[in-house]
C-alpha cells in the first residue's frame, strides 16, 4: 500500500473539466485535504462541486487531473477500495432490502462475506435502521435512504469518506445523528470530505473548507483563518460618535437611524479596545453594548460568490469562457 503524500489524503493540482458546449466545470482546481480532518467543499449550484467529487471517484473523466488520492494518482481504481462514497441523489435498487443493499455494494468494493455481514449489522445499528434492515428500499423515506447511503459508504471501513450532500432530505434529528457519526469517524482517524450547501451544518463539523465558484477554488483553509480578517468589536453608543472617533484609522463609524452610533474596531484582542472604551467614558458617552463579531461561514460564502467590482452575486452555474470575474484563490 502506497503511503499518502505527507499528510494529504487528497492532493489535487490542475484539475480541469470542460463539458460539451465549452462549459468549464472545473478550472485549474488545486486542493489539499489532510488526514484525519473533516473537509467541506462549498459552492453555489453548478459550481463544479459534484464534478470534482465524481472525478475523484472515477465517475467523470477529467480533461486534466494531477495529484493523488490516498497516495495514488487520481483514477487509480484499486485505491477506491479504501474510499467510501455517497453520491448526491443516489438511487439504490428498490427490490433490495437495506441489509441486502449494504452487502451488495460492499461486495462490489470487494469486502469479504463475513466482514460484509458483520459490518452491515453494525452500521445498521449505528444509523438506527436495525428495525428496517430487512424491509425493501422501496418502502424507505428520503431520510432513511440517506442513512442507508451513509452506511453504504462506510461498509468497506474506508480511510477516506466522500459524502455528496449527506444530509439532503434528512430531518433535524437525522442531521444530528449523521453529524455525530461524522465526528465519531474523525475521532477514529478517518478523513471526511463533505460536499454540501448547508453552511451551518458544515460550520459545525468542518475543520477546513474550500469554496468553489464557477469551477475555481476561491477560498481554502481553516474557517477561523478565513474569517480572521473579519473579526472585529462593535461598540454601540447612545448618541452621535465623538469627532475623534472619525479621525482614528483603526475605527469605522456607522451612524444609526435611531440616533445611536456604532464604532467598529478591527482586531481580535479585547485589550485593543480598552483605550477606546476609556475615552468614551471620559467623554461621558453611554456605552450600550460591546460585542466581538466574527464573520459566519455564510458571510464568507456570500463574500466569495459576490463580484467585488459590481457587488452583485455571481450567476450560478459553471463558468463560461468570458466569466473571469472570479476572485483569486486565498489559501
Amino acid at each position: 500500500m502506497a503511503s499518502t503524500n505527507g499528510t494529504s489524503v487528497i492532493d489535487l493540482h490542475h484539475v480541469e473539466k470542460t463539458y460539451k458546449g465549452k462549459i468549464h466545470a472545473l478550472r485549474d482546481v488545486r486542493m489539499q485535504v489532510h488526514a484525519g480532518e473533516i473537509f467541506g467543499l462549498l459552492g453555489p449550484n453548478g459550481a463544479g462541486k459534484s464534478t470534482l467529487v465524481k472525478i475523484m471517484m472515477t465517475v467523470v473523466r477529467p480533461d486534466r487531473a494531477e495529484g493523488t488520492l490516498l497516495g495514488h494518482p487520481i483514477g487509480h481504481k484499486p485505491t477506491l477500495r479504501r474510499v467510501g462514497y455517497l453520491p448526491e441523489h443516489h438511487r439504490f435498487p428498490r427490490y433490495l432490502t437495506g441489509r441486502q443493499t449494504l452487502e451488495f455494494y460492499a461486495a462490489l468494493a470487494r469486502v469479504d462475506k463475513p466482514s460484509r455481514r458483520r459490518r452491515a449489522a453494525e452500521l445498521l445499528n449505528t444509523i438506527g435502521m436495525t428495525g428496517w434492515a430487512d424491509k425493501k428500499i422501496a418502502t424507505y423515506s428520503k431520510g432513511m435512504m440517506q442513512r442507508v447511503g451513509l452506511a453504504q459508504a462506510l461498509m468497506n471501513d474506508p480511510e477516506l469518506v466522500i459524502l455528496d450532500e449527506p444530509t439532503d432530505g434528512v430531518d433535524p434529528v437525522g442531521r444530528r445523528d449523521i453529524r455525530d457519526v461524522l465526528l465519531a469517524l474523525r475521532d477514529q482517524g478517518k478523513t471526511i470530505f463533505i460536499n454540501s450547501h448547508l453552511l451551518s451544518e458544515l460550520e459545525m463539523v468542518c475543520d477546513r473548507v474550500a469554496i468553489l465558484v464557477q469551477g475555481r477554488v476561491v477560498r481554502q483553509g481553516r474557517i477561523d483563518d478565513l474569517t480572521a480578517d473579519s473579526r472585529r468589536y462593535e461598540i454601540v453608543i447612545d448618541s452621535a460618535a465623538p469627532p475623534w472617533a472619525a479621525r482614528q484609522s483603526d475605527l469605522r463609524v456607522e451612524a444609526g437611524a435611531d440616533g445611536r452610533s456604532t464604532l467598529i474596531c478591527k482586531g481580535v484582542e479585547a485589550s485593543s479596545i480598552q483605550p477606546i472604551l476609556d475615552r468614551l467614558r471620559a467623554d461621558k458617552l453611554t456605552i450600550v453594548s460591546v460585542q466581538p463579531v466574527r464573520e459566519t461561514l455564510e458571510d464568507l460564502f456570500m463574500r466569495s460568490v459576490t463580484d467585488p467590482k459590481t457587488g452583485r452575486t455571481l450567476a450560478p452555474g459553471a463558468a463560461v469562457e468570458s466569466a473571469d470575474a472570479v476572485q483569486e484563490p486565498t489559501t
Partner: protein, 377 residues
C-alpha cells in the same frame, strides 16, 4: 469472483422482482403442459390428456412417425414460434430497462465508484442480463425433457441444446438493445430499436430465402428443360425420314417446334435465375455479416432430427416412407427444390452460423462498451 457473484445474485433478485418474469414463466408452464397433454397409443394420438383421440395409421405408438411428430412439435413449432418469437419479445420487454436503469444518475455512480474497471462492469452486467432467458429456458427445457421422456420414452438430452441456442439468438438482439440503451439511456427507445432491427433481420432473411428459392426453382427448370432439349435433339438427330413421309415431316416439324419452345423456356428460366442472382447476391452478402437468427434457431431442428429421416418436414412433403405407404405425388421441381434448399441449409456449419452472428454481436457490444467506458455520468 466476489463481484461476479454479487452481480449474479443482484441480477436474480432484480428478475425475481419483475412481474413479467413470473408471467413469462407461467406462460411457459402452460406451453409445457399443453405439450405434455399429447400422447400416443396404438390407434393414433390423444390430445388434452386423452380428452380427444385422433386415430391414425401413420402416427401411432407403433410407427416412428410418433417420435418425429412429438420431437418435431418441439423443434419446429414450440422453438420456432414460442421460444423464438413470443418468449423472446417478453424477455426483451422485461430486460430492456436493465441497462438504462443501471446507467441512471445516482445508480451508476455507486457502481463506478467501486474498485472495478468499467469494461468488467459492462461485461458482467451484459452477461447477467441474459440470466432472464437462461433461467426461463432451463426450466422450460426441463419440462419438455420430462414430457418427451414420459410420452415417447426417449430421454433426449439434446433438448437442452435449446438453452444455449436460444440464449445466443437472444443475445444477438439484446446486444442492439444494450447499444441503444447505452446511447439513449431510454428503455422504450432501446426496445423499439431492437424490435426494428429484429424485424429488419427477419425481412432480410426472408427476402434472401425467397430469392434463393425462386432462383433455385428457375435453375431446376432450366436444367430440366436442358435435359428435355438434349433428349429432343437426340431424337431429331436420329429421326429417319422416309421419302414422301408426310406424317414423318409433321412429327419432325412438331418435334422441332417443341425443341424451340423448350429452348425458349430454358433461356427464360436462365434469364430469370440470372436476374434474381443480381438481387440475391447482395442480400446473401448482407446476411453473411448480419446475425443469422433463423439459421441459429434452425440448428435445433438439425440436432433433433431423426437419423432415419422421419420428420415433420417429411410428413408435410408427403414422404411417409417406412410406413409401407407410397409417397404422395408432388411436382418434381418442388421436390428437387426442397431437397436443394435443405441441402443448402445443412451446408452451413454451426460454427459459421453462430460464429459470424457472434462476430456481429461482438462489434455491437464493443461499440456500446466504448461509449460506456468513455462517458461521464
Amino acid at each position: 469472483m466476489t463481484v461476479f457473484l454479487a452481480m449474479l445474485l443482484d441480477a436474480y433478485r432484480e428478475l425475481n422482482s419483475r412481474k413479467l418474469f413470473w408471467v413469462t414463466l407461467g406462460l411457459s408452464a402452460m406451453v409445457v403442459v399443453s405439450y405434455g397433454s399429447i400422447g400416443f397409443n396404438e390407434q393414433g394420438m390423444s390430445v388434452l390428456f386423452g380428452l380427444r383421440q385422433v386415430d391414425s395409421e401413420f402416427v401411432n405408438s407403433t410407427t416412428p412417425w410418433a417420435r418425429a411428430l412429438y420431437i418435431g412439435i418441439f423443434s419446429d413449432f414450440i422453438v420456432a414460434v414460442w421460444l423464438s418469437w413470443i418468449a423472446i419479445i417478453l424477455a426483451l420487454i422485461s430486460t430492456c430497462t436493465m441497462f438504462p436503469d443501471f446507467l441512471a444518475g445516482g445508480a451508476i455512480d455507486l457502481v463506478l465508484s467501486k474498485p472495478i474497471g468499467r469494461v468488467m462492469i459492462f461485461s458482467i452486467k451484459f452477461v447477467m442480463s441474459l440470466l432472464f432467458v437462461v433461467l426461463q429456458l432451463t426450466l422450460f427445457c426441463v419440462g419438455i425433457f420430462l414430457c418427451v421422456g414420459l410420452r415417447i420414452g426417449e430421454w433426449n438430452w439434446m433438448i437442452f441444446s435449446a438453452v444455449p441456442v436460444v440464449t445466443v439468438f437472444y443475445s444477438y438482439l439484446y446486444a442492439v438493445c444494450v447499444l441503444t440503451g447505452v446511447v439513449t439511456r431510454s428503455a422504450i427507445t432501446a426496445l423499439l430499436m431492437t424490435l426494428l432491427f429484429w424485424f429488419s433481420l427477419w425481412g432480410m432473411q426472408t427476402a434472401e430465402g425467397m430469392l434463393y428459392q425462386f432462383r433455385t426453382r428457375f435453375e431446376i427448370q432450366a436444367e430440366k428443360s436442358q435435359v428435355r432439349i438434349e433428349r429432343m435433339a437426340q431424337r431429331l438427330d436420329t429421326f429417319n425420314l422416309g421419302p414422301d413421309d408426310a406424317a414423318g415431316l409433321i412429327v419432325r416439324a412438331d418435334l422441332q417446334y417443341r425443341l424451340e419452345q423448350e429452348q425458349a423456356e430454358r433461356d427464360t428460366s436462365l434469364d430469370a435465375a440470372a436476374s434474381l442472382q443480381t438481387w440475391h447476391g447482395p442480400t446473401e452478402f448482407m446476411m453473411a455479416v448480419l446475425p443469422k437468427t433463423q439459421l441459429t434457431v434452425g440448428l435445433l431442428s438439425r440436432w433433433l432430427k431423426d437419423p432415419d429421416g422421419f420428420s415433420i418436414a417429411a410428413m408435410m412433403r408427403g414422404e411417409m416412407t417406412g410406413t409401407g405407404t407410397s409417397a404422395l405425388m408432388r411436382d418434381p421441381v418442388d421436390v428437387e427444390m426442397t431437397r436443394r434448399l435443405e441441402k443448402e441449409l445443412d451446408s452451413y456449419s454451426p460454427w459459421y452460423i453462430v460464429g459470424t452472428s457472434l462476430g456481429f454481436e461482438a462489434l455491437v457490444l464493443a461499440a456500446a462498451c466504448v461509449i460506456f467506458v468513455r462517458r461521464d455520468f
